[in-house]
Symmetry: C2
Subunit: 112 residues, 2 copies
């Protein structure tokens, strides 16, 4: 189970480690259901190039593709992002602590 | 600037796409300042193997290494995780919407 979870998280973070793939997710958040060819056009990619990126996103569970006739509509699937965020949120206390320290330093400085 | 930000985020997500590297961050959250050899030992890795993982984490700005004599202490640097979380939080409304829909469905079902 831990191993299974690991490899899911691996795929999510790996899919997010590319600016085009993050761009596709941002685009889909604004325009849900865009077609593969519209996505390819807006990133100036050929269809096979966009399809490769969509395959990585789909393997990570970050998008779903629905075929109607000859058109493939792409939609955002946010669950893996929620899991990634839950993992990252474990570390929230570290940057909160750093911010508290910063505020304390600024106040100290102002009190001088 | 956008490009610079992109490549920083690429490195962060890429560094997080490995269970050992995520494990190292989890370990450092509990035991800050662990040495490289202690980390290698707890992940049953040889020193060069652990050093490679630490290089990836360090390139992403996720850890700092401090050398004192012959010991290298490793600490967590949470800033890139905060940026990654800020990026992910753009999508929070999507899973919140899905959860709202789920609650509505359950309530509908209960009302029958």
């Amino acid at each position: 189970m831990a191993k299974h979870m690991s490899s899911e998280m691996d795929r999510t973070f790996w899919a997010l480690a590319d600016p085009t793939r993050r761009g596709v997710l941002e685009r889909l958040a604004k325009d849900p259901g865009l077609s593969v060819s519209e996505l390819a056009r807006s990133f100036s990619l050929k269809l096979p190039g966009m399809t490769k990126h969509l395959d990585v996103l789909s393997d990570a569970g970050l998008i779903t593709r629905t075929k109607t006739g000859r058109t493939v509509a792409v939609s955002l699937a946010p669950a893996p992002m929620q899991e990634a965020m839950a993992w990252l949120s474990q570390y929230e206390r570290f940057w909160t602590v750093s911010l508290d320290r910063l505020v304390a330093l600024v106040e100290e400085d102002a009190a001088r």
